[in-house]
Amino acid sequence: MEDILENIGPALNIVFQFETFLVIALGVLAGVILGILPGFGGSQALALMFPFTFIMSPSAAILFMISIYSAAEYGGSIPAILIRTPGTTAAAMTVLDGYPMAQKGDAYRALMISITSGVFGGIFSSLIFIVAATALAWVGLQFGPSEMFALGLLGLAIIGSFVGNNPTKGFIAAGLGLLLSTFGESPFGAVRFSFDLDFLSDGIPLIVMIIAMLAAPEIFRLMGLTRADDEASIEGSKGMLSGRGKGFSFFDFRKLLPTMLRGSLIGTFIGAIPGPGPTVGTVIAYNEEKRWSKRADQFGTGIDEAVSAPESANNAVVAGAMVPALALGIPGSGAIAVLLGVLVSKNMVPGPTLFTENGPLVMAVFIGLIICNIFLLLCGILGIRYFAKIVEVPGRILGPFVMVMLIIGAYAHDNNVAHAGMVIVFGALAFWMDKFNFSTIPVILGFVMGPIIEQNLNLAMVINQGNVISMVSRPLTIFILTLSVITAYAAYRRSKKI
């Protein structure tokens, strides 16, 4: 507590300067725009903006980058809600209810829930870290490979929530996701399922899989729309845009507070653990919300809580991820690795000494995140009416443009035309899966959780010399595994009721 009081004054001095406010505002704007573009997640956006930090002071540089990261995570939700195309991988869960809301004519409301929940999550986790950064860094360190393996299983345990009325097909889809995640290099370097094709030896990028599984079936639908279909859907969305539809009031905000709190807590916790990142945070937040909700059966049809929970978790992860990065020098994700690169380029060494030698700067990072979220709120609220205009564009016209954007987005991920081809192949697969009632969400869950489970399982097995009992007998591992079993059972029971 003494450290906090000692550092808060100098930290406020760092933040409350014109230069800092300017870079935060610019970072937010750049982040939102880059987040909207498919293929440009937080790490790509940060890598792209890295050179601009060379002319900035250390505090301005790190705050600029954090603003971009935080805003890009929010920006990814805008196309997820409006055109079923998540701009970032973490926005995949927002598609599930955000897009149905937009289809019902509630795009404005969905976007408002997304921005307010995201901002709430960001501010909430920043406040927690201002008070308890060091303690949370210690908790994060308790997660070894066995615990991470168990955490991966916990993420996978929720598949039962997404299988609809046919669990068998849902589990087949999950198996397919797990299998596809093993394409490319194994944790110890062997190349698998490459079929002598160079582009397959690097595996399938997550963004390609998410674009293909979530967005491509919708593009196939848009491409098949006729003028009559379009006229009917535009008529439905006009009321909402002119303010006659469902808005978003303070009362709605108050009603969603418990959801935001749960999502933010999960996001904060997941963020503090090196490795899982925002995508896992949003998956777990969505499932936990479904478990708590009285209308769990309506998840996936476009309800407020289902948009709010993953969105608050998503932005809470950003502040959370800064803790192991700053306190221990552990980059939990590609985006955080770029952020650490900024620190190193400014001659600062991330790790425990950063807290003692540059305490005010660390504090300024979290205060800056709060300011960044306030800018994000302003940017979101002012921009929402313009973003939402996209639903007025007839689907048959929008389809070809979105298809080009998806293909370029997949290409831009690694400047690889094979990734654009993969979007089409897996998009066609997703289209058929959709037609034959195989949900594509378990494929994504399997694909996200697969590498976390496999890498940590292999590591834990090597550490424990192949002794499974000693691997799963650590107290934290037992706790998470028990939670996974309960979650899987509850999710399965729920799917049987639907």
């Binding site: 880059l34 573009l37 440009f40 792209l48 068998t168 097909k169 589990f171 087949i172 999950a174 198996g175 397919l176 797990l178 299998l179 995640s181 093993t182 194994s186 110890f188 062997a190 698998r192 399922f193 593009i219 196939f220 491409m223 098949g224 048959r396 016209i397 389809g399 070809p400 443009f401 298809m403 080009v404 954007m405 293909i407 370029i408 290409y411 831009a412 400047n415 035309v417 654009a420 081809g421 089409i424 998009g427 066609a428 289209f431 037609k435 034959f436 009632n437 399997g446 697969g450 489970i453 496999e454 399982l457 292999n458 097995m461 090597v462 550490i463 424990n464 010399q465 192949g466 002794n467």
Partner: protein, 165 residues
Amino acid sequence: MSNWTVNLTKADIVNAFLLLCFSVSGVYITTTWLPPVMPGDPGAAFFPRIALSVIFIFSFVLFVQKIRTRLHDRTTSSAPHITIDLSKFFWTLLFSSLLVAGISTIGFEFSGFLFLFILLWQRTSRWVWAFFMSLSAVAIMYLIFVLILKVRLPLLFLPDYIKFF
């Protein structure tokens, strides 16, 4: 040709059978990989085999379930059907594949323009509008992705960077 109506139970049986074959051949492929060398390491084939086992087990369950349903349907004739517009699916697949192939052979600016122009013209019957919309969309994407974001899209004649100073 355009609309294809299929009995969902029959389709599930065929799908389950194909998935069973797929998982068996997947396991066969993993047998050709090198065994683990590090003590305790379960090996590169371990996790893919778990995934393939999941697919195999649940495909088998689906196969049995649907065979039983099919036998029941024969007596009640209440099998659900789905209809798929095959021509729309194949046209979309063809056009998007041509776009990907076009980007790597004739460049993004030309293939992107052609893709948008043909589809927009076909959908609006207004060729002048389609022409200018496609041209401006390609110009904006070129500006954002190539000039600002430095994505190395294959280009036919446009420069991949412009020096302003």
